[in-house]
Symmetry: C2
Subunit: 410 residues, 2 copies
């Protein structure tokens, strides 16, 4: 493949007009949108308005006048379309860890006679910490059991209260079979929580088609909501009247402004809200969701598959002799939208790349991770990133005391 | 008192230079800073930089380069100075409900043999909801008991695990005696959590002097952090190595970037962080804290006491005949920085005031609440607000179908 072939792919790419909706960092090839998505142009004006007009002038009346109060549901419905959820089943609030805690505590309560929360060792560590924290608090009433990702299906037994998994592995990019695992769990009476942090906006998922019980996910990665933007959570409509989280608050009350001293859970998913939400991040996210209008997740995923495969082929072809290899899932139709490469000097290599303006990230112990976010990643970005990696490896630039300073990457 | 007397007080007011640090809403007398504080000028530039440079250009590297990662502790130390806390004992994260849940769950775990969480019926309802949610989740292992505020001290007995109170009542403005109640609780082996939502930045409190175990508080009221800005929590240093919340996450891990699958709590208060925080709100709050440089809480409180007393006197003198009266605590040296008035048509009256640009808020069933935030509230604001109230009441303007449109209030 030549650079002109990548340029030709960009010219034919129906998503190239979406790229124009983002303020891309200058002099960089940004392949870390799976960690922090880039800035949507619409968010700039929206945040400015929030600060200077809504907060600055209208102040407290903005809760109604500017729709602050309803934003968690409004944005939730926008995200719902990307994950196969129905309206009024997704809400945006808090962090992914807090939301996972909420749905996990609700699920445990619904299976009081069962002791096991089942997960896998490839899950994002913070998810496991949440389950461990709950287990410790309940002094052994439930225990977290982790198995290897491949052993999940067979480990689902009748003592399992909740299966808690991340759909796309943050390192290997391996995707779990949501449909099969959810069905297996339901067949023995267990509930399932899916973490869609590396899935929402990256790969097609359908929480209703697989009848997931709960899901949580992140908005600052593929959804470009901004640093630390609120997370989302999904509650299947068939559970919305029976599930109650351990962590509640006035935003989840049936009648919050009555200021009654007794908690009465709101109908529907709203009961999974608790406290007042940060509106600066919330409106940035709301504006970011505009970019998803008319996006087919299947088509976007097809581009991601092509970019991941293209990058891997270029790297293997050009750099295989320099000790770099693909980590994790190879089947490009069963994996997420990022590629991890292993290399004995991964940390130094990624630093050398970053100093040249090619931004990926390092994941312990020896992984370089490159995220492809096809809403704004071009094919020529992918091509150029592979060339930079070749240059760094072939010239052993990672071994320099001082890396090259940031330069234009063309 | 004449208007010129109020103007004279403003000329002599040492805090009048602080007022210039804020972008005050035009054509309004804003007396709702106890619900949502006004916009600090410093926050405008800081948020713009965050969005356009840190997020827009530097992206993922900003976690280190722009100090995002440490902001929860950095801001925590700034707030610590206002509440009598020592460095490294306050952290900013999540919402007040989530933080209350964290410290309450930690406290319950530290008193496993005790069944009662004690609070009062004047507490902010969401705090009670948090305790009720925990109690429900623990199926009766602990129960929330609420008594009248005046009965708290005598209700503290040896079956009490945790006393959970709000220092300043959000309606009556009555302040609890932190020192005496904390001492009483400790004398029977109970722990104490203080909610400082209406105290931090409003009245002098000293969590170390009274040896409080835990505290939580709000930053979008008197601290002007912006709509829904993150809350804070305090953990007394003597408990920091033994207290562990039920809700944890990777930001509270001893070594978050090792991505170990086992949770190991960080040393100190940092273990009370859980997930990734929204940086747009966080930097707005950080900039807002600049306004507190050199502020003596005792002096600020003296101004608040004067403003609350002045407003009450003016209202009682001018409007007493129109069915309005003070609600709650009358001793102006034992109360918070807001005044609640009761009136049979409180909702209509407050709407009429708001339509004239005098912004207070309504609290069910019959209260009008006016917050005095002496960092930027002037004496003439207080004087004029009382005159508007007189006009609305004496002319029964609240009884109009249509209120006057917003107009300049001079």
């Amino acid at each position: 493949m030549k650079r002109k072939d990548a340029l030709a792919l960009d010219r034919a790419d129906p998503f190239s007009k979406k790229r124009k909706l983002f303020k891309l960092p200058k002099y960089k090839i940004y392949l870390d949108g799976n960690s922090l998505g880039v800035l949507p142009k619409a968010s700039i004006a929206r945040v400015k308005h929030l600060v200077e007009v809504e907060w600055g002038q209208d102040l407290i009346t903005s809760w109604n006048e500017h729709g602050w109060w309803n934003l968690p549901q409004v944005i939730g419905d926008k995200i719902a379309k990307l994950i196969g959820a129905v309206p009024n089943s997704v809400v945006v609030a808090d962090t992914i860890s807090v939301n996972l805690f909420k749905v996990l505590s609700a699920a445990i309560t619904m299976r009081p006679e069962r002791k096991v929360v089942l997960s896998d060792s490839g899950n994002f560590p913070s998810d496991l910490y949440v389950a461990q924290g709950l287990s410790r608090f309940l002094t052994g009433k439930v225990d977290l059991k982790t198995v290897e990702p491949e052993q999940i299906a067979e480990a689902i037994s009748e003592d399992v209260a909740v299966v808690m998994l991340t759909e796309t592995d943050y390192r290997s990019a391996r995707r779990h079979d949501m449909q099969a695992i959810t069905a297996k769990a339901h067949s023995v009476g267990a509930l399932v929580i899916w973490d869609l942090a590396h899935s929402a906006g990256a790969v097609p998922v359908d929480v209703m088609a697989c009848d997931a019980d709960f899901a949580v996910g992140c908005t600052y990665k593929y959804l470009n909501g901004g640093p630390g933007a609120q997370a989302f959570l999904f509650v299947n409509p068939r559970l919305q009247q029976s599930a109650v989280p351990a962590l509640v608050g006035w935003w989840g009350h049936a009648n919050p402004f009555a200021f009654s001293i007794d908690f009465v859970p709101a109908d529907g998913v709203r009961r999974f809200q608790s406290g007042t939400q940060g509106m600066l991040n919330m409106v940035a996210l709301d504006a970011a969701m505009d970019a998803w209008k008319g996006v087919s997740m299947e088509r976007l995923y097809a581009k991601a598959v092509k970019q991941c495969a293209m990058f891997t082929e270029l790297v293997e072809h050009q750099c295989g002799e320099f000790g770099v290899s693909l980590y994790g899932e190879r089947n490009f139709h069963q994996r997420g939208s990022h590629v991890c490469l292993q290399h004995p000097h991964a940390y130094a290599v990624i630093q050398a790349l970053i100093s040249r303006g090619v931004v990926g990230d390092f994941r312990a112990p020896n992984l370089m991770r490159f995220g492809f976010t096809p809403l704004y990643t071009s094919y020529v970005d992918v091509f150029d990133a592979a060339q930079h990696l070749h240059e760094v490896l072939s010239k052993r630039l990672w071994n320099k005391k001082k890396f090259l300073t940031i330069q234009s990457v063309t």
